[in-house]
């Protein structure tokens, strides 16, 4: 299968290793990885801030890059939800409405794609360590991805998955919310990180790097012990 990767801007610049891990995993499974050039942002920041005209400007170009793609797999549940769920709303009644519907239909979040579309859970990965999984809200509630990442992690050799308390509670990132309401966002991060610390894991894994930026950012400043955050693709690419 020819799989087109959608690597959102912040992963492109801050966490390129996530994209590299996705390429590795998909190629290992024998798929051809396509990366349409010129990708920038999905438009979520202006969209969530209420500036839908500006969001449409960005989204419309981004959408056109994937016109010929067979399948689009996103590195982030949140940006993936933009493609899958919010583009159709953003372009409702606009000339691009049909194109948005087409993109939505062929868009997948990475872990869900592996499990539900490809039917794979065991990727032959090996990762030694205690891990807890944080559900990114967009992946969980907009896309309904809950079981897939857990199934994938459980199949990794050497990995012990320990569920934290309230894994489904938001980490407090929320895009521009994190800087517009830093006091609330940080309080939420504190609660989340305390749940993580209680599990005594060494790693926190998620299918959304934006949540991990929040969690790692808070832990690095406040945690009594070192905990490393990893995108699920990085774990699945380990050998």
């Amino acid at each position: 299968m020819r799989v087109s990767l959608f690597i959102p801007c912040f992963i492109d610049t801050l966490y390129p290793r996530v994209g590299m891990a996705m390429v590795k995993v998909l190629e290992k499974l024998g798929h051809e990885v396509d990366y349409p050039e010129g990708q920038t942002c999905c438009g979520q920041p202006p969209f969530n801030s209420g500036y839908w005209d500006e969001a449409r400007t960005v989204a419309s170009r981004q959408m056109s890059l994937f016109r010929d793609s067979e399948i689009v797999v996103s590195a982030s549940g949140s940006c993936g939800a933009m493609f899958k769920k919010f583009y159709p709303e953003l372009f409702q009644g606009k000339p691009e409405e049909k194109e948005a519907a087409r993109l939505s239909a062929k868009s997948w979040e990475f872990s869900e794609f592996l499990v539900s579309k490809l039917g794979v859970t065991d990727l032959g990965a090996r990762f030694d360590g205690k891990v807890t999984f944080h559900d990114g809200c967009h992946g969980l509630r907009e896309l309904g991805t809950k079981q897939a990442p857990r199934d994938l992690l459980r199949a990794v050799k050497g990995l012990e998955l320990i569920e934290m308390k309230e894994a489904e509670t938001c980490c407090g990132f929320g895009g521009t919310f994190a800087v517009k309401f830093p006091q609330i966002s940080t309080a939420m991060a504190e609660v989340k990180c305390n749940s993580i610390l209680e599990t005594e894991v060494e790693y926190v894994v998620s299918n959304d790097s934006s949540c991990l930026m929040q969690i790692q950012g808070y832990l690095d400043r406040n945690s009594p012990r070192s905990i490393k955050s990893l995108h699920i693709a990085e774990v699945l690419a380990s050998e």
Binding site: C41, G50, L140, G175, G217
Partner: protein, 472 residues
């Protein structure tokens, strides 16, 4: 923290600064709501199919809310046929005037109330007290908040933020009771104090959980029995009810009573469920001589006029969205500065009190969607927060934000410029420590409390490009 001279957004930020720093209170509130999810999950499983029940409830509320014109008049016809009186109040002033008028006309001296958020909404107590009427709240939580001269913290659990010792100290100070650590004793103190007032009161004021159109009744559900006493004893009763509380049929209660209890407290059913069909009829031994229902619009019709967010009128005020909201749990109920706190409050308040003044509540959300997931009547709560943001900016964009996002869009649509920028950015980041966390730090909102990841010298796109070229 409610009414203030400074604008609601500034007040909100200031209050949230204080409440989020209060780790002790936050932990207390979180613990109080901690058991909710598990209890509720157990109750949900008593439904044959909870998701179907939600669908059904949503459909029934849709029917009611979209036929208010006929359904409310059907209620009025049936209710007045048995001697009840219905007053249509288009705003809070009209509702207050009607109730104050009744008090004057009927020679009312003292009033006992059961829990009614509509009364908070129209600031009824203040209006009654100003005219010299004695008013006593009979719901324990509301009573405590009344003594504390503080608005409810949560529209279902008004004093959930208070610890036992604080309540004891409050009782000691306000009604002279002895210090105690026992919740039972605290309840008894309040009960002994209230009993006298039930007997003295000429007027009872309540809200209603449901207006039932086909039989012309109101339904009140509660756990303390105080609403029953409030409705039964005084000679005049007034129920102040929002027009959205309609259910087409009495039979609908079979779904809505357990659903409200499940969503609200995780109970199968609340302890007391009463239906009132009007004043005391001939041959009946008790009940009020007069029964008035005040149907309150107070800008609910503005929500009705918005097809996108009309489903917010489906709300049965169970409070489930507050109970699961990480924002509510961390900032607490008072920071909102609204009658209706939490996610649903953030959705409806801009419609009730003005979008521009209250849009910040829609912004103060990570849009995590826990509220929508918990809502028994399937209101699309967190997406409406998103819609409020859009509507606010469409109506009145903030010039510098508009400029910022236009610039953002311009740049994001120029991939070459974007590549150049992300090549320079890691070098720029090396200069960041000079201003890090200070007022000059452009990332201050983040860096004051959190670290930033280091930018990689090679982006994924650059890596991919090099890889492709290497293959050629």
């Amino acid at each position: 923290m409610s009414e203030s001279a400074i604008d609601p957004k500034t007040q909100f930020h200031a209050d949230a600064d204080v409440t989020t720093a209060d780790t002790d209170r936050r932990a207390f509130v979180r613990k109080a709501l901690g058991g909710y999810k598990t209890t509720r999950a157990k109750t949900e499983s008593a439904f044959t199919d909870w998701e179907q029940a939600r669908e059904a409830a949503s459909a029934i509320k849709y029917e009611g809310v979209n036929h208010l014109d006929t359904i409310l008049t059907q209620f009025e016809t049936n209710f007045t046929a048995r001697g009840g009186k219905v007053f249509w109040a288009s705003n809070s002033q009209e509702a207050r005037d009607y109730i104050l008028g009744l008090c004057a006309e009927k020679g009312v001296k003292s009033i006992v109330k059961s829990k009614a958020m509509t009364s908070e909404e129209i600031h009824l107590n203040a209006a009654l007290e100003e005219k010299g009427y004695g008013v006593i709240e009979s719901d324990l939580g509301e009573f405590i908040q009344q003594l504390k001269k503080e608005a409810p913290y949560h529209f279902v659990f008004p004093c959930m933020h208070l610890k036992r010792e604080e309540i004891s100290a409050l009782f000691e100070k306000e009604i002279g009771s002895a210090k105690t650590d026992s919740p039972e004793e605290l309840t008894m103190i309040a009960r002994r104090f209230m009993r006298r007032h039930y007997l003295e009161a000429d007027m009872g004021i309540s809200g209603a959980n449901f207006i039932i159109a086909d039989t012309g009744m109101i339904s009140i559900t509660e756990n303390e029995g105080n609403a029953r006493l409030t409705c039964a004893h005084p000679r005049i009763h007034v129920a102040l009810v929002g027009i959205e509380k309609v259910l087409p049929r009495l039979a609908d209660l079979a779904l809505f009573l357990p659903m409200l209890a499940t969503g609200g407290t995780g109970q199968n059913m609340t302890c007391y469920n009463s239906m009132y069909a009007g004043p005391r009829q001939e041959g009946e031994s008790d009940g009020p001589e007069e029964f008035h229902v005040v149907l309150l619009d107070n800008h609910r019709t503005r929500l009705l006029a918005d097809p996108e967010q009309r489903d917010a009128l489906h709300c049965i005020r169970c409070g489930a969205c507050l109970n699961v909201c990480p924002i509510f749990k961390n900032i607490g109920g008072h920071a909102y500065g609204t009658t209706y706190q939490g996610p649903i409050g953030s959705v409806i308040t801009p419609h009730f009190k003005g979008l521009q003044d209250w849009k910040h509540l829609s912004g103060a959300s990570s849009l995590c969607g826990a509220c929508t997931e918990a809502c028994p009547v399937k209101i699309d709560i967190h997406h409406h927060l998103l819609h409020n943001r859009r509507n606010a900016m469409k109506q009145k964009p903030v010039w510098w934000e508009k400029l910022l996002w236009q610039g953002f869009a311009w740049m994001m649509n120029r991939p070459r410029l974007y590549s150049l920028a992300i090549r320079i950015a890691p070098w720029m980041q090396k200069l960041h420590p000079i201003v890090f966390g200070s007022v000059l730090d452009p990332a201050r909102g983040w860096t004051q409390t959190r670290d930033l990841p280091e930018m990689e010298p090679q982006s994924f796109s650059a890596w991919m490009k090099a890889r492709k070229e290497g293959r050629k």
